[in-house]
């Protein structure tokens, strides 16, 4: 199959073949190779199938699941969902390179271009405020540099990273463990719409497939497969995120981990990865710089894409951009800021810490509250429903 028209004509059958339950990528590919086109597979006699497969199981599966292929495919196209089989010229080249590459992929929106630089940001669902901040900051920085963010649209790190990339005007791709027409988790309704509009929602599962635990590990290999590097923001010791890391290593992708405090269980997975040799992600700038010297080295020469913005040594190694110096705050406010952290704490805890550290202990509670809300107004402190934490890192 060479001509694009020919491929287009075969699409309904390719979609059908992909959706046949019990037949995986490997067999689908083998069948098409042996018989020429998916339509031939659809129309193949039991005898010829037996000759290829060597058992009657395959023929039985195919025969049992024959249905009206055209109608279903048209419905899907009308819903704005496209199917790209592996022999399609637009099928991402990066996916062809990975072991066990999928037979086809469904797309709502668009696919990353082959020369598009992309990084996967993954992490825990029940993440901390620290993880949320880091995921958001990295995603925004990547988006500003024209690097797209690939993730799984899950709760927690995934969703925050993709939301951050969109907010910074970048493109982002979500790989789902269900049909691309289903928004899972449902709380990411708004995010799902935005990703469809300015990026793409991808899946190897046909539309209408409900999410299922067994779908998620295989989709993780697509996340890492579509990216040049994988950034793990927060993960517990036993985390699904680490499956993505395994896949990435298998596929030869760079793995970066964000270091965390050794007392935080949510950083155990990341710190463990660092021990095992993962690259350290200290700031988006450092990460982009390293990648442009390794993975993207050839891109720059070939296509003249400017590398990452290098702000010089001063910002190298810390989160840049938002980490502005604390301006326009007085001595007392500065002292109060020194007590706060990304982890939001209650007013009571702030007060206790102030007493213990002998900071601002001349102030009564109401005055302390006033000081705190001044900082909220000035945008340094964020109120998370009665708990207060730092909004931006402050370099004092």
């Amino acid at each position: 199959m060479q001509k694009i028209e020919e491929i287009q004509g075969q699409q309904p059958f390719a979609h059908w073949l992909n959706g046949v339950e019990g037949i995986g990528s490997v067999w689908a590919r083998k069948l098409v190779e042996a018989l020429g086109t998916p339509e031939e597979v659809y129309r193949a006699s039991e005898k010829s199938l037996l000759a290829i497969a060597g058992s009657s199981r395959l023929a039985g599966l195919l025969a049992a699941q024959k249905q009206e292929v055209y109608k279903e495919y048209e419905e899907m196209e009308q819903a704005g969902i496209f199917f790209l089989p592996c022999y399609h010229p637009e099928y991402p080249k990066r996916l062809l390179q990975i072991p066990d590459s999928p037979f086809g992929i469904y797309v709502k929106g668009r696919l990353p271009r082959d020369n598009e630089r992309s990084i996967a940001i993954v992490g825990a669902r029940n993440c901390s405020a620290y993880g949320r901040y880091v995921a958001d900051a990295f995603a925004k920085a990547f988006a500003k540099e024209g690097v797209s963010v690939v993730s799984g649209m899950a709760r927690g790190i995934d969703g925050v990273a993709q939301g951050g990339a969109l907010a910074a005007g970048g493109s982002t791709y979500a790989v789902l463990g269900c049909g691309v027409d289903i928004c899972y988790p449902a709380c990411h309704d708004a995010l799902y719409g935005k990703i469809c509009a300015s990026g793409g929602v991808l899946s190897t599962y046909p539309p209408k497939t409900a999410p299922s635990p067994k779908h998620f590990p295989p989709r993780n290999r697509i996340i890492s497969g579509l990216s040049d590097a994988v950034l793990v923001v927060e993960a517990k010791q036993k985390s699904g995120t680490l499956i993505t890391v395994d896949m990435a290593l298998e596929q030869g992708r760079e793995v970066y981990a964000v270091p965390g405090r050794i007392t935080d269980r949510l950083s155990d997975g990341c710190n463990r990865l660092l021990v095992q040799g993962a690259a350290v992600a200290l700031s988006p700038a450092q990460m982009l710089k390293e990648l442009s010297e390794t993975v993207w080295r050839n891109d720059r020469q070939d296509e003249g894409i400017t590398g990452c913005r290098n702000d010089g040594a001063a910002n190298d190694g810390c989160l840049t951009g938002e980490g502005a110096a604390a301006e326009g705050i007085n001595k007392q406010e500065r002292a109060l800021l020194s007590l706060l952290d990304f982890y939001p704490i209650s007013m009571e805890q702030i007060y206790i810490m102030a007493q213990q550290e002998k900071i601002l202990c001349v102030l009564a509670l109401p005055q302390m509250m006033e000081l705190l809300w001044q900082l909220v107004v000035k945008g340094f402190v964020v109120n998370e429903g009665g708990y207060y934490g730092l909004k931006k890192p402050v370099w004092q």
Binding site: L266, S346, M347, E348, V376, G386
Partner: protein, 514 residues
Amino acid sequence: MFSAVNTGGVRGMDAYPVRVEVDLSRGLPCFELVGSAGSEVKEARERVQIALKNEGVVLPVSKIIVNLSPADIRKEGTGYDLPIAAGLLACMDFFHASDFLHTAFLGELALNGEVRRVSGVLPIVIALKKEGIDTFLVPAENAGECAVVPGIRTIGIKSVRELLCYLKADEEERQKCFPAYIRERAGRVEENGKDFAQVCGQESVKRAAEVAAAGFHHLMLAGAPGTGKTMIAERIPDILPPMTEEEKLEVSGIYSIAGKLQTEGLMEKRPFLAPHHTVSPQAMAGGGRIPRPGLLSLAHRGILFLDEMPEFSSAVLEVLRQPMEEKKVHIDRSYASYTYPADFMLVCAMNPCPCGYFPDRNRCHCSPADIRRYLGRISGPILDRIDMITEAAPVAVKDLYEAREAESTAAIKLRVLGARERQQFRYRESPYRFNGELPGSEVKKYCQPSFDGQRFLEQMSEAGQISARAFHKILRLARTAADLEGREKIEQTHLAEAVCYNSGRRRFWKQMDM
């Protein structure tokens, strides 16, 4: 032979006078009780007959008819025994009913002739006094609450024999043998051994309790298990300003009707009710076939404390909605509708998540969905009526050992009383008592922030920290904070503190995406 004596009955919160009319006539011997008498009132026939017999009075063999007038109001309760007995004795010429036109009888009879306590004495006495009755013969156990009403003569009666003695005696003998019951003035305030000085740390929670008590604001305490939420809640009644005489009578009336008034008479302390979370909506609101005041009414002018609030059934929590708005409970029955007062201060405590350790991610394993479901048990309308939310922080054992001197209840109460006085003065010409009662329409009049304060509020609103909905709440709270400090103008500090108490609300409606 006809006679009539005075007594009274209670319907809902209102008492009304009842005339017990007794007639003995010829005819087939019988003993009938008419006048919309409930079943326990009808049983009076047996109790009265036996009690009189055991005291040596045998009823004549004749047709006995007793009527409770007005006959169209349904009578409930056992307080009619004694007046019926008195009516019968009058018919049997033991005394002249015409001598006792200004005397009322109230009490239940035991079969051996003893007089037992009844409920609702206080409101009945108040109502009958207005009708010109000045002498009350009540069970000795109820004498305390009866004597609370000034300008009347209270005679505590222990048995039918005593009743007979009283009725037969002449005025001089009565003065000697039946002195009017004089209520001892309860000067002592019971020490319950609970003091704020015993609570280590939790300064911000104690401060919130102080503000809540000073302005009668509804308060929610959130925090991990074992942080002292219950301990603090239990101590709030002690810092509340004392009840006025009028309030005491009001609260005692409710307790009297519910049959829960202690023998001492008046309720001196503000009520503190802490129902278990398995309580039923009926117990909360009041009810039963013959409605009785529920916990909401028993907490009138006091505190209703709901520990582990999300564990209460949603039906129970929704019952709180109307009373928190109208400060009344309405109960409707096919034959009548009742209204009980329910102006309480709600104090509730809850964990921040099912396991209790949120937001400490190292200890809390609850998923955002779990937390949302847990917090979701408290509905928006209830949350809207809670003025303050405050967080208690975990306390380290070390801090318990090295506890610094904490402020005592007496010191806090002093400030609360100051704030109370300011409020009394401010609202002297309006129906409000506390800042927490101010309706939205009046907030503007009484809670004007200073220029700086206004600018601060605008900034907060621009920063998306306060909504229009919370605006009045914040001003009311700031008013109380300013009153506690003795300031007439609401300054930025007061507003910041108020915003702080309001910010916990966010957690409930925020789409928790983490």
